[in-house]
Structure formats: structure tokens, C-alpha cells
């Protein structure tokens, strides 16, 4: 089993991380457009996207079957499928893979739910180390305002209601997001995450992101894979 830091592929892997409402998906979408326009072969990979696990996750959320441990393990299963199916093969072929949320999401959420830090990190040891992992950092109140504006109601696990920190959904969500943000802050140093100030304008953030990504691109990557337009 090849583990984190030891995978060697010709492609590039860029991931975005951050709390809900940090604007990371918007940024990744813009990066995708740019890379495609530049002529690079780009692959997109999202959190919770495994066709083999999706139904199980949906059913478990609906019926509230999860504990922190099974929540963690089922998401790891989903991520394993994503790695085996959508991440390693395109990287081997020399493509650029963009991932919306990566292992750091699991580290932040699962530890916030009480799972052991070392145990969760061990589970994801099979993951490919990203070329760059961006962490879009928004202060808690900013992120919460953005979420409140975008979504009429929070889902049970999303709000961390399973942890019984509070009977109030909004309070629970705030507590949960606060814990998640603490975990991200710890990981900036631990995993060398590239922090982007998510309170800046969207264009400024995108400019910074493109500047950093540009350092890892070579003309040769364009010739590696030809994807249908």
C-alpha cells in the first residue's frame, strides 16, 4: 500500500478546504475554468461522490444511524473509492485533478465529533498528498452569515445535532463550525496548508490561487492527456 507522501505521479492535485461558507467551491470552479481555457486536461472530484457508497450515506443520514465512528469510516470508504477511481488514475495519466474537500475535511469534522486525531489520520494514510492544499479561512461569524443567507435550514449532521451540544440548530452549528475551524488552524502547520484569506474579494483570492497553481504547471502537461472538450 502506497501511503501519503509517497505517491509519485506525473499529474497535479490541487485541493480546496475550509468551513462551510468559506467560498472554496466558488474558487475551485473559477480555477477549473481557467485551467480548461489554458488547455490543460482537468478532472474534478467532489467530496461524497462515490457511486458505491452514496446510497448508504443517504439512508444513514435520513435514518440517523451514524455514530462519530461510523460517520468517519463511511466517509473514508467514500474517499477510498474516489481515490481508487477518480484521483489516482487521472494523476497517473498526467492530468490535473481538482478536489473539492479532501482528507483535511475528515480530520476537522471527525475530530470535532470526538474521534481520536491519530486514528483518523491513520485511516486516510492511503491518500495521495496534494500538490497544493488551499485552506480558505473565513472567520466564524462571516462563514455563518454566508451559510444562513444561502440555506433556509440546516441538516441534522451538518449542524452537528448528533453531538447534542445544543437543542438549537443554529447554536449547535456554531459550536460545531467553531471546533472545525480550530482543527483547520492546527492543520495549517501540520500539513503545510496554503492559507487564503477568504474575506478578500473573490477576484483577489482567485488571482492568488492562480499565481500559486501556476508555479506547478508546465506546458508539457497539456500534451499528456487529451480530454473531450
Amino acid at each position: 500500500m502506497i501511503s501519503y507522501g509517497y505517491h509519485r505521479y506525473p499529474g497535479r492535485l490541487f485541493v480546496v478546504e475550509g468551513t462551510d461558507g468559506s467560498g472554496k467551491s466558488t474558487q475551485l470552479g473559477l480555477l477549473y475554468q481557467w485551467l480548461k481555457a489554458e488547455g490543460y486536461p482537468v478532472f474534478f472530484s467532489e467530496w461524497n461522490s462515490s457511486p458505491l457508497v452514496k446510497d448508504t450515506t443517504r439512508r444513514a443520514k435520513k435514518r440517523r444511524l451514524f455514530t462519530p465512528t461510523t460517520f468517519s469510516l463511511l466517509h473514508a470508504t467514500d474517499f477510498a473509492d474516489r481515490t481508487e477511481r477518480n484521483i489516482i488514475p487521472p494523476l497517473k495519466a498526467g492530468a490535473i485533478v481538482l478536489a473539492d474537500r479532501y482528507i483535511y475535511t475528515a480530520f476537522a469534522r471527525d475530530v470535532a465529533r470526538g474521534c481520536d486525531r491519530a486514528w483518523v489520520r491513520e485511516i486516510y494514510k492511503f491518500a495521495v498528498k496534494p500538490t497544493v492544499a488551499f485552506f480558505f479561512r473565513a472567520p466564524l461569524d462571516v462563514a455563518i452569515d454566508r451559510i444562513a443567507a444561502a440555506r433556509p435550514s440546516l441538516k441534522y449532521y451538518e449542524a452537528g445535532m448528533d453531538m447534542e451540544w445544543s437543542d438549537d440548530e443554529e447554536d449547535s452549528f456554531k459550536i460545531f463550525q467553531g471546533k472545525i475551524l480550530d482543527e483547520y488552524d492546527h492543520m495549517v502547520h501540520e500539513f503545510g496548508l496554503t492559507q487564503i484569506d477568504a474575506t478578500q474579494s473573490i477576484r483577489t483570492q482567485q488571482r492568488q490561487m492562480r499565481e500559486i497553481v501556476g508555479r506547478y504547471l508546465k506546458e508539457k502537461l497539456k500534451e499528456k492527456v487529451v480530454l473531450p472538450k
Binding site: 448508504t56 461510523t70 473514508a76 470508504t77
Partner: protein, 266 residues
């Protein structure tokens, strides 16, 4: 009452408290007769007045169906399968086995973490990685390893069971042979080697499963009864008969998870 012990990091938010039940594991390769023996044991123990919960791989409410569907297709990767098994195990541990142990049940499990570890390792997983994941497992009161060295005999037993060869039990994903039989034989050899390696590490009690069912069942029942303290077994064989008395109340405390009557081969 016994202190709960874990192989590694215990489950989060778990109150580690003494428990009065017994966790008995029946392990062994495919075709060795585990499910037959679990069924026989269950009947014997229940007629002796013990409340029994039996469980086995891929039977969890959470992940059982997902695993079956994933195995029915042709896109399931090895890491994904190993983590799916771990999810299934965790769900059964938290929702079935631990509550039953606390309530004084005899928990009979057809396979435990050892099969999962063996399957992962023969598929190239890092042995330390898979063990760390299963660090959440409770150390059982006894692990009975039904051992049969002849893979030809195992294959014959699988055929005799009437189900024929299964894709995963034959290790067809590993491409060890050109047909199910060759693959099964080669795959079970690899598994046997892993089980033998784990035998000392995890303190397996080896039961020679090459003998007729009746003899194996007899030895197994005597050994299990000693573990749960039903029969005088020297100095420490005087454990409480209260287990069976407690179990009537205990049944109410159990979650209403349906346990399939016919043990399935995972």
C-alpha cells in the same frame, strides 16, 4: 464482571465499564464450517439458558446492504472494500455487540477483525494500517480458530454447501488463477498463511476442523462453556450463573436489530 479492553484506541464517547457478557469469536477461512458451528453453538447455549446474540461480517444495518450491492458490481476497489468492512464492523460493534455484552449476553460472532485483516493484507494493504483501524475492537474473551490446512478439502466443502464458489471468497479480484477453483485454492492458501501469522499475536485457540462436524462441535461447546463458566474448569471456572438469570431482563435493553436466522457467508 470484566473490564473492557481494546486492541488500540477505544471508540469515542464510549463509557468503558465492566461488562458481564462474553464475546466469543469463531474464525476460520471460507468453507471451514464457521456458520454451521455458530448455529450449533447458539442452539446449545440457548438450551442451557444463555441469551445469545449472533452476528457476522456484512450484517450491519448501516452498511450491510451497501457492501452487498458494491460486491455485486465490477467497480469495487480493494481499499474501498476494506473500509466498507470496517464501517460494517464498527456499526455492529457499537449497536449490537457492546450493548449485548453490557446486558450479559453471550455474543457469538462469525468472524471478527481477523478475517478482515487477513483479507486486507493479502490484497496488499499495510498490515499496520489495517490493525490500527481495527484498534477500535474489543479484545474478545476467546477466539476459536477453526483450522483446516487442505485447500482442496475447503473447496470440496464449499461445493457441498450447495452455494458454489463466490467471486470474492475465491479471490477472483486478485487474479490468482484462471478459474474459480484455482483461484479459490490459491487465495485460501494466502489467507491460511495470514491466519497462522495472527494465531500467536492474538492468542487464537486452534480447533482442528479436519475432523467430522460432530467432534468439532463437541470440542467447541466444551471450550465455550469453560469460557463462559458453565462447567467446572479448575480454579477460575466458578463464574456466576447469574448470566442466564440476567439475560431475560437484558433482552429488553437490546436494540431491536433483526438478526438473520440463517448465517450468511460474508
Amino acid at each position: 464482571m470484566k473490564e473492557m479492553k481494546f486492541y488500540g484506541t477505544a471508540l469515542p464517547a464510549l463509557e468503558i465499564e465492566p461488562y458481564s457478557g462474553k464475546l466469543i469469536v469463531i474464525e476460520g477461512t471460507d468453507g471451514v464450517g464457521r456458520s454451521t458451528h455458530v448455529a450449533l453453538l447458539r442452539t446449545s447455549l440457548e438450551s442451557a439458558g444463555h441469551a445469545v446474540l449472533d452476528t457476522g461480517m456484512t450484517r450491519s444495518v448501516l452498511a450491510g446492504r451497501g457492501i452487498k450491492n458494491a460486491r455485486a458490481g465490477n467497480t469495487l476497489g480493494s481499499l474501498t472494500l476494506q473500509l466498507y468492512y470496517a464501517t460494517d464492523f464498527a456499526d455492529r460493534l457499537e449497536k449490537e455487540m457492546l450493548p449485548a455484552l453490557r446486558a450479559g449476553f453471550v455474543v457469538l460472532t462469525d468472524r471478527y477483525i481477523y478475517s478482515a485483516i487477513a483479507r486486507a493484507v493479502v490484497r496488499g494493504a499495510d498490515p499496520a494500517w489495517i490493525r490500527a483501524i481495527y484498534g477500535m475492537a474489543v479484545v474478545p474473551d476467546a477466539v476459536f480458530y477453526l483450522r483446516l490446512r487442505s485447500t482442496q478439502e475447503l473447496a470440496a466443502r464449499v461445493l457441498a454447501s450447495g452455494h458454489g464458489f463466490d467471486y470474492w471468497e475465491s479471490g477472483m479480484d486478485l487474479r490468482l488463477g484462471t478459474d474459480y477453483y484455482d483461484s479459490f485454492v490459491a487465495y485460501q492458501k494466502l489467507l491460511l498463511r495470514e491466519f497462522d501469522r495472527m494465531s500467536g499475536e492474538y492468542g487464537f485457540r486452534v480447533i482442528d476442523a479436519a475432523r467430522p462436524i460432530r467432534r468439532v462441535a463437541g470440542e467447541l461447546l466444551r471450550a465455550v462453556k469453560t469460557v463462559i463458566g458453565d462447567e467446572p474448569a479448575g480454579q477460575d471456572g466458578n463464574v456466576s450463573p447469574a448470566i442466564s438469570a440476567a439475560s431475560a431482563d437484558a433482552k429488553k435493553a437490546l436494540p431491536t436489530t433483526p438478526t438473520p436466522q440463517r448465517p450468511q457467508e460474508p
